[in-house]
Amino acid sequence: MSKFKKKKKGLPAISTASLPDIVFMLLFFFMVSTTMRETDLVIKKPVLPTASEVKKLEHKSLVSTIYVGKSKDDRIAGDKIQVNDKIIDIKDIPAFIFAERALRKEEEVKFMTTSIKADKGANVGTILDIKEQLRDINALKISFSTTKGSNLKTNY
């Protein structure tokens, strides 16, 4: 018994000197990996469909995003289109793309991609209308935003 009692000398305090270093390390990690959320959704957050053959979107600065989803108010039916914090009409999409183009350099315009983040319950009609608008103004590169996964059954 005395053997055990001997050891009970009181715990040495854990050194917290390296704590700031650890915290800083984490801090830098998050600072680097963070992307500030640019838009607040005014529509219901779209549930993206799943797809397996996805490509990552390169050059984030050249991507303009169009959100399609239901209104937050359940009483309002139909798909709503949101760009930059506000809900717009389909025929306003060209104006949005032109505004986006104006922010980029001339030579980068042809690499610009439009990412469509649409709810999997949205109507194809809306999506095709958007595509038609984009075709009209020669914004031909589009990407149907999806989450990566192999279970396509959840899509329909």
Partner: protein, 204 residues
């Protein structure tokens, strides 16, 4: 002048400040990478030249507002599309279109059934996706995904046969250090199985 002793700055609160910042970034961070199915829309032209395409060179996919699928007038499931599309594209029953004065050639890399009633050549094979306005987007993306999958698998097969590397491998390599020879390889694969997808006006 009274020189004051430089007292040490108390660094004890540094951890607290760092924690505060850390928590701020933890909360605001979103680590989503935007990924999706890339598509190139067809250019709009005023005077589209009239082209006659043989019925056998078109794979007709129709989807209605109840998310039911018809491929070549037969009722199928989404999961069947990939196989049907691959069979159709890779059929190679005839010769390619004449290019630059050269006469068309039969497809020497196709592994298909060479059925004369199906597509002539991958470069002629058109997939037509006719959807209804009421189809759900999830269904639409699933079909696009299956079609994309069919093309990718065919390109992959050819890549393995010709370069002994997978298509994905080549693409990854090209992204990391793009060389001319890689580009020609990828372009060759893409040209061998070009994506020709037509989307007619939706059913109202």
């Amino acid at each position: 002048m009274a020189r004051r002793e430089n007292s040490d700055i108390n660094a004890g609160s540094m951890a607290d400040i760092a924690f505060l910042l850390l928590i701020f970034f933890l909360v605001t961070t979103t680590m989503d990478v935007d990924s999706g199915i890339a598509r190139k829309l067809p250019e709009k032209t005023e005077d589209a030249p009239e082209v006659t395409i043989k019925e056998k060179n078109i794979l007709d996919i129709v989807v209605n507002r109840n998310n039911q699928l018809l491929v070549e007038n037969e009722f199928v499931q989404v999961t069947d599309i990939k196989r049907l599309a691959m069979d159709f594209i890779d059929n190679g029953g005839g010769i390619s279109a004449a290019k630059d004065g050269n006469p068309g050639e039969p497809c020497d890399y196709c592994n298909g059934a060479k059925d004369p009633a199906s597509s002539d050549h991958p470069s002629k094979a058109i997939i037509s996706l006719q959807s209804d306005r009421g189809t759900t987007y999830g269904m639409y993306v699933s079909i696009q995904n299956e079609i994309e999958g069919a093309y990718n698998e065919l390109r992959n097969k050819l890549a393995l046969k010709k370069y002994r590397r997978s298509y994905k491998d080549l693409l990854d390599d090209y992204k990391n250090n793009g060389t001319e020879s890689l580009k020609t390889k990828i372009d060759f694969l893409k040209d061998s199985y070009p994506q020709i997808i037509s989307e007619p006006e939706p059913i109202k």
